[in-house]
């Protein structure tokens, strides 16, 4: 569907363009614009100079033109194309932003309103957040171009796992930042307590990824898991005379919880690898 230009540069004009290589004028820029669109004139230009150097020059010029359109945050120094592209996609950014919002704002608001409640909210939400982020990132509504990407050779496990890792990497500093902030406002939090949620969080995220290889929609499952976790925390709090940050931390840091979480995380990850060809997130099919 390319529209070919209706006019062409003469050999004299192309010669003048070549001679001014080190000092381009406005007129040369116009010639460049035309040459980018006109294969006929590029062919004539190639006869006036060494073909290889012309091709190289055009590649450099076209690269310069294209680079100007790229957003600066895409230019992550040294990052491989897949990582750069995965990081730049809106679904991932939305998921990471949602995770940051939940982890950052909710505990702070709760802390402002209910004092120690902020820490409690953070500890309850933290293990759920990786799962929520992964669930959000792979909803059809979140990734409208998902079906186009799904049939590419890089899609499937590699892309999904990479996105999950990126979300986790973005969520971690937010969690620690929130913990530090809530800790500064309220009571200090031991470092061991601050990482107790990591394995349960990884296990839930891995389960969500594994669900992405089935026909089961991860969203209702994620909601069910969240409700179960919240109910367990509240039940534990009641049995111990009231729910507080210490009881939730104790539940998360309990060796049984940690071993079960590790087993679930490894099992779900293995299931994802085995079922890697079934990775998908188009629940409307």
């Amino acid at each position: 569907m390319t529209t070919q230009p209706t006019w062409h540069l003469s050999a004299e004009e192309l010669g003048a363009y070549l001679r001014s290589a080190s000092q381009r004028t406005v007129r040369d820029s116009s010639a460049e614009t035309h040459l980018l669109a006109c294969a006929e004139c590029r062919a004539l230009l190639a006869t006036l100079t060494d073909a290889a150097s012309t091709d190289a020059a055009w590649l450099r010029l076209a690269d310069d033109v294209d680079r100007t359109s790229r957003r600066s945050w895409l230019q992550l120094a040294g990052a491989p194309g897949l990582l750069r592209t995965a990081v730049a996609t809106p679904p991932l950014l939305r998921a990471a932003a949602s995770a940051a919002l939940v982890l950052g704002l909710v505990p702070l608001l709760a802390s402002a309103i209910a004092g120690e409640g902020g820490l409690l909210a953070l500890l309850v939400l933290a293990p759920l957040t990786p799962m929520a982020a992964v669930t959000l990132a792979y909803r059809p509504a979140q990734d409208p171009a998902g079906e186009i990407g799904l049939v590419a050779p890089v899609a499937g496990l590699r892309l999904v796992a990479l996105r999950a890792l990126v979300v986790a990497a973005l969520a971690l500093p937010v969690v620690y930042g929130s913990l530090a902030l809530v800790s500064a406002v309220g009571q200090p939090i031991p470092a061991s307590d601050a990482v107790a949620w990591l394995l349960p969080g990884a296990a839930l995220a891995a389960v969500t990824l594994a669900l992405g290889t089935t026909r089961v929609d991860p969203l209702p499952v994620a909601i069910g898991i969240s409700a179960t976790w919240a109910t367990s925390a509240i039940a534990l709090g009641r049995s111990g005379g009231g729910i507080d940050a210490r009881s939730v931390t104790a539940l998360l840091a309990d060796p049984v919880t940690q071993w079960v979480a590790l087993a679930v995380a490894v099992g779900a990850a293995a299931l994802v690898v085995v079922r890697r060809d079934e990775i998908g997130y188009r629940r409307s099919m």
Partner: protein, 277 residues
């Protein structure tokens, strides 16, 4: 090699969206014609490796998509345009096609940019390749998705309603654009597109393929069964008012009726009527 489906079935719950379909597309442009809900998109999703069939066998470019290594090989040689291609509105066409090119393993940045430019120029978007997609018209967005499907010069193109949103001029140019691809399987409910684009046509109704052949053979199904009259004919299977003001009838013509040359629409409508009883 192309594409070969042998008794392929896909169910969603109790509903068979694709029911024991056998179809071969070994070269050229093959059109899949049928009304909305006939199962065309489900069939194309299986041909594009988005969905796996529940039963039957599927061979794509001579490979078995059920095998992981062969699936990746297929996806390296496949271009796919979904029915409603979602795009990232904040991206430019260049960025979006570049993103798809990365997913298609075009790792060399300089060569990738050349390829992205090539496909965007091929669909006539060179003037807007750096404008945000949300600012483009529906037809331009369709061409962005088409460009993404063309990245890497695929050996098989699976296109679901590719002419959606394209103006008549762009529809005409679509044919030459697809000519370089060895095998193209496209779906449409627009019969004129089939005659304009396709060498072979398959008609799909309620999950089943009920006809395969050339567009001329589809039209010939209605040979001797189309007539025109000034009045409606209650005996006809189908009757409709033409733009000339006369009625066109489909069925067994009464004696003395003015039988006319059948079109592709006539063949398709007769087939659909016959299948629905």
């Amino acid at each position: 090699m192309g594409l070969s489906l042998d008794h392929v079935t896909k169910r969603f719950g109790a509903h068979s969206a694709v029911d024991a379909v056998s179809l071969s597309a070994a070269g050229g442009i093959v059109g899949l014609l049928g009304p909305n809900g006939a199962g065309k998109s489900t069939l194309l999703r299986m041909a594009a490796t988005v969905l796996a069939p529940d039963s039957g066998s599927l061979s794509i470019l001579g490979r078995d998509p059920a095998d992981h290594r062969q699936l990746v090989e297929i996806r390296r040689r496949l271009g796919y345009l979904p029915q409603n291609p979602g795009l990232y509105g904040g991206f430019t066409p260049f960025d979006f096609v570049d993103y798809v090119a990365v997913l298609k393993e075009h790792t060399d940045a300089a060569r990738r940019r050349v390829e992205v430019r090539r496909v965007l120029e091929a669909v006539g978007l060179e003037d807007v390749m750096h404008r945000r997609i949300r600012r483009l018209s529906g037809g331009m967005r369709q061409r962005v998705a088409l460009a993404a499907a063309l990245v890497g010069r695929p050996e098989l193109l699976v296109l679901d309603e590719p002419a959606n949103g394209l103006d008549p001029d762009q529809r005409l140019r679509l044919r030459s654009l697809l000519a370089d691809t060895p095998t193209v399987l496209l779906s449409t409910h627009n019969i004129s597109e089939v005659s304009a684009l396709c060498r072979q046509v398959a008609v799909m109704l309620e999950g089943r393929i009920v006809f395969t052949g050339t567009p001329a053979e589809l039209a010939d199904l209605a040979a001797g069964r189309v007539w025109e009259d000034e009045r409606q004919d209650p005996q006809a299977l189908r009757s409709w008012l033409t733009s000339a003001g006369s009625y066109r009838h489909l069925g067994e013509p009464p004696s003395g009726a003015t039988v006319v040359e059948p079109t592709l629409d006539d063949g398709y409508l007769l087939l659909a009527r016959r299948e629905h009883g």
